[in-house]
Amino acid sequence: MARRRNTPPEALAQGLGWFSIGLGLAELLAPHAVARNLGLRGNERLLATYGARELVTGIGILAARDPEPWIWGRVAGDALDIGTLATGLDGADDRRGGAGIAMVAVLGATVLDLLCASDLRARRQARAALPDYSRRSGLPRPPEAMRGAARDFEVPADMRTPEALRPWTSAA
């Protein structure tokens, strides 16, 4: 029952999904400004591509039946980002400091992504070991045998289906 953190992994995944969409939009719509601040001038087209990737990943996380594969996708994207930012750190661009800050941020996001993905995996594995609720019917006999056992109940007049909407045979 004990859990490591207070945030359920699904909620964290949702947060990461929205973060991806926000970052993706920024990279896609303003690649020049992002490149300037990260010391990555000349890589605007690459940044816009990364933006599209973030956008798709974000939508995937929010829309997917199971966000776990998309979170692992974010982890892979983080690796790409780290590699790209490393080139910014090496360069002589006077915005190297920006690349350093971005590197720290990406590393932080990577940690969150990894925690989220591992929590989602743990949740999936825990669910695989289900308790047996198959006997918890609450009924003394199998449901099929209990079908209609309360037909002696008379539905009050104010809760009956209007005559006009009742099956023809019962309305007649």
């Binding site: 047996d132 609720y133 609450g138 309360a150 909407l165």
Partner: protein, 389 residues
């Protein structure tokens, strides 16, 4: 005494608070022997319902033994064992006389506030915001029951707390949801949400003779319990609800649909769910009505939608034109608990149903705060928590 108190969003604490006392001659004080955390408590826990104040005592599903009665309360005496309905009723107003107990005209002591918000007041509720009276709830060692001469269900000694506790809310709520469907032997009843109310709606629909009951959820243990109760299940994360319901009904859709989910529908792989999430995030929408939209879409024309799930405020993008053109009937509302309890108590006594099937966790009151979280996050295969003060 000890009680579970609301202190803010996701902040429930087991506090020591003053004991309740008789405030009106019709009151009673009861010593709580069992209480439960209800799905609608989670709306308060998650901060979706306005009108809570720090220190409010939570809980509206509880039962116990009468400790003290007011001088005008001739219906109860010390030592009586009672379940307390979550709707407080005077038993005398126009609505109570019609059996519409959940809209009792006199039990909400903040009537003027409710009149402003709802147009006309609804009944007072235990532990459920100041909009419905701000009455102290039952997740406590003792509770003051207003209008106690009418707001109670006496239970015999030969049934356990676990068998009758849910007469106060979730059993009659699931029952009323099914009754509102006016189930015919040819009907398919589709039920969204396999939480405790959904589970009781499933069993009620089976007992009332539905041809087919289909339950929709994604939590495996809840789906397993739904199948145990006689439902065919749909995992909404693994398959299309609309396609599967059409498949199960020869393409015509279910005649009756029950929304046992309400305002906090979980995001699914649908665009409208994402839309709701986004609007709620920027406070442009209070509720996430995905289930309502889906019911309206998939329900057979001339069918009935029954809505026991709690909604709190403003709902967006409801396809009302679709509902109008399909001639759907809507029935909804808080539960008229006392309208059903005599009959349901008889059915429990006869062994037709044992409501204790739904309990998955029983703990002491002091563990209540952690159990809110366990229940909310569906951890540890939790479906229903009973607390023992």
């Amino acid at each position: 005494m000890r009680a579970l108190c609301w202190h803010g969003k996701q902040d429930i604490r087991c506090d020591t608070v003053p004991d309740p006392r008789i405030e009106h001659p019709r009151d009673a004080i009861i010593r709580v022997t069992s209480c439960a955390i209800c799905g609608s408590d989670l709306h308060l826990y998650d901060g979706f319902m306005p009108g809570m104040e720090s220190g409010d005592i939570m809980g509206h599903e509880f039962m116990g033994v009468v400790e003290e009665v007011g001088p005008e309360n001739k219906a109860l005496k010390k030592g009586d064992r009672i379940v307390v309905p979550f709707t407080i009723i005077c038993g005398e107003c126009d609505q109570c006389r019609r059996g519409n107990f959940s809209v009792c005209e006199r039990s909400n002591r903040n009537k003027s506030l409710a009149d402003k918000v709802f147009g006309h007041t609804t009944a007072g509720l235990f532990g459920y915001t100041h909009l419905t009276g701000g009455y102290a709830g039952g997740q406590a060692e003792y509770v003051r029951v207003p209008f106690a001469d009418r707001t109670h269900v006496k239970v015999p000694e030969n049934v356990t707390d676990e068998q009758v506790l849910f007469l106060g809310d979730i059993f009659p709520t699931g029952w009323q949801a099914a009754v509102q469907c006016d189930i015919q032997p040819t009907d398919t009843v589709a039920i969204w949400g396999c939480g405790p109310v959904g589970q009781f709606a499933i069993r009620s629909a089976v007992l009332l003779g539905a041809k087919q009951v289909v339950a929709i959820d994604t939590v495996p243990e809840r789906l397993a319990m739904a199948r145990a109760g006689g439902a065919t299940t749909i995992d909404f994360m693994a398959e299309s609800v609309v396609e599967r319901l059409n498949e199960l009904t020869g393409g015509k859709g279910p005649e009756k649909c029950i929304d046992a989910v309400g305002m906090e529908a979980h995001a699914t792989a649908t665009l409208d769910s994402l839309y709701d999430r986004a609007k709620q995030a920027v406070m442009l929408e209070t509720d996430r009505p995905h289930v309502l939209r889906e019911m309206m879409y998939v329900c057979r024309p001339a069918g009935t939608l029954s809505i026991p799930g709690v909604y709190g405020g403003l709902l967006d993008k409801i396809p009302f034109g679709m509902a109008m053109n399909k001639g759907l009937t809507f029935r909804m509302g808080q539960t008229h608990v006392n309208r059903w309890t005599d009959d349901l108590l008889r059915r429990i006594g006869q062994g037709q149903i044992d409501p204790s099937f739904v309990i998955t966790h029983t703990v002491g009151l002091e563990r209540g705060p952690e159990m809110y979280k366990t229940f909310r996050d569906k951890q540890d295969n939790c479906i229903k928590v009973v607390l023992k003060p």
